[in-house]
């Protein structure tokens, strides 16, 4: 009985982290390290979602995508995204080989992606620009943005699950 009572807090913690915490912490540190390598060497504060608009400037003549800052940065933003894909491929091909594909239904990915595309560009950033770099530099704008998207994401995911959509 006493043993069980002592184990309960540990079990509760394990419930909160069913996959453990190590991969999450290591992954997070590497994400921060990647952003730091770019900042320390070039002074650039990298975000992932501007790539969507700056890349559209190659194929669209809409004013919004052809602003000077996008035309000037679209090359390195492409290199940044190519780096992300390559780094993940190193993991998927070498360090943890094997094909894994998501079970989440296509319409959720497409529809959710569409809203992510609108929202990140309207809101001036995403999980990396606001969430990692903005919060890291204690920007009030970023902290408000992160609190907002977190609240809406939690609400949406819970409602979708409650409606019985899985996965």
């Amino acid at each position: 009985m006493q043993v069980t009572a002592e184990l309960t807090p540990l079990l509760a913690v394990a419930d909160l982290f069913p996959r453990g915490v190590l991969p999450y912490a290591i992954g997070g540190l590497l994400v921060g390290l990647g952003a730091s390598i770019i900042y320390l060497s070039t002074g650039v504060i990298a975000g992932a979602s501007t790539f969507l608009e700056s890349t559209l400037s190659y194929v669209s003549d809409i004013d919004r995508f052809n602003r000077f800052t996008y035309l000037q940065s679209r090359g390195w933003r492409f290199a940044f995204t190519a780096g992300i894909v390559s780094g993940a491929a190193v993991w998927g091909l070498v360090l943890d080989p094997g094909i894994w594909t998501t079970e989440v239904q296509w319409w959720r990915l497409l529809g959710g992606g569409f809203l992510v595309g609108i929202g990140t560009r309207l809101g001036k950033g995403c999980t990396s620009g606001h969430g990692v770099c903005g919060v890291g530099s204690l920007s009030n704008t970023s902290i408000v943005n992160v609190a907002t998207f977190m609240a809406f994401a939690i609400g949406t995911a819970q409602v979708v699950a409650a409606l019985g959509v899985s996965p």
Partner: protein, 159 residues
């Protein structure tokens, strides 16, 4: 970039940083929509360590660079903090992004990483992101054109 002549090391440095960034996203599980959805449904709080860990590392880097260091070696640019202005779009955009993230379980950087680990169905999400970015750009540019032509027709009107 303040100079037109870029160091040949500029793009390799960005690529190398992206590589570490993407490796981290792949290890962290954020490239898997299922892991993100588990977090948002309060079944696995591990993602707090991803965003928290990353923000702590960049926070220390930004602090050290802006306080003690002068200029970035490759570009010669001064180390500056990110200043993004606040307006209502920050909240409106954050809300729309949140609904999309909660529906799909994927955000832009994680989507690129997810493609990198071979999760090809994520192309649905990446296509959606480009369509969404295009839609808002189209809408905002045409609105800007409208208001520009209106003010040209009626220069005295205050909008």
């Amino acid at each position: 970039m303040s100079t037109t002549e870029r160091s040949p090391l500029f793009l390799p440095a960005i690529y190398l940083g992206g590589l570490v960034f993407g490796l981290g996203l792949a290890i962290s599980g954020m490239a898997r929509p299922e892991v993100v959805l588990d977090f948002l449904q309060f079944q696995d709080f591990g993602l707090l360590f991803v965003m928290g860990g990353a923000a702590v590392v960049t926070g220390i880097t930004f602090f050290v660079a802006t306080t003690f260091l002068d200029r970035a070696p490759i570009t010669g640019d001064e180390y500056k903090r990110r200043v993004k202005s606040f307006d209502r779009n920050v909240v409106i955009g954050g809300s729309i992004f949140g609904v999309g993230w909660g529906l799909s379980g994927i955000c832009p950087g994680a989507a690129y990483a997810s493609f990198g680990v071979g999760n090809y169905p994520i192309l649905w999400a990446i296509a959606g992101m480009f369509l969404g970015a295009y839609a808002q750009g189209y809408w905002r540019s045409s609105r800007a054109d409208d208001s520009a032509s209106q003010s040209a027709e009626r220069p005295s009107s205050q909008d």
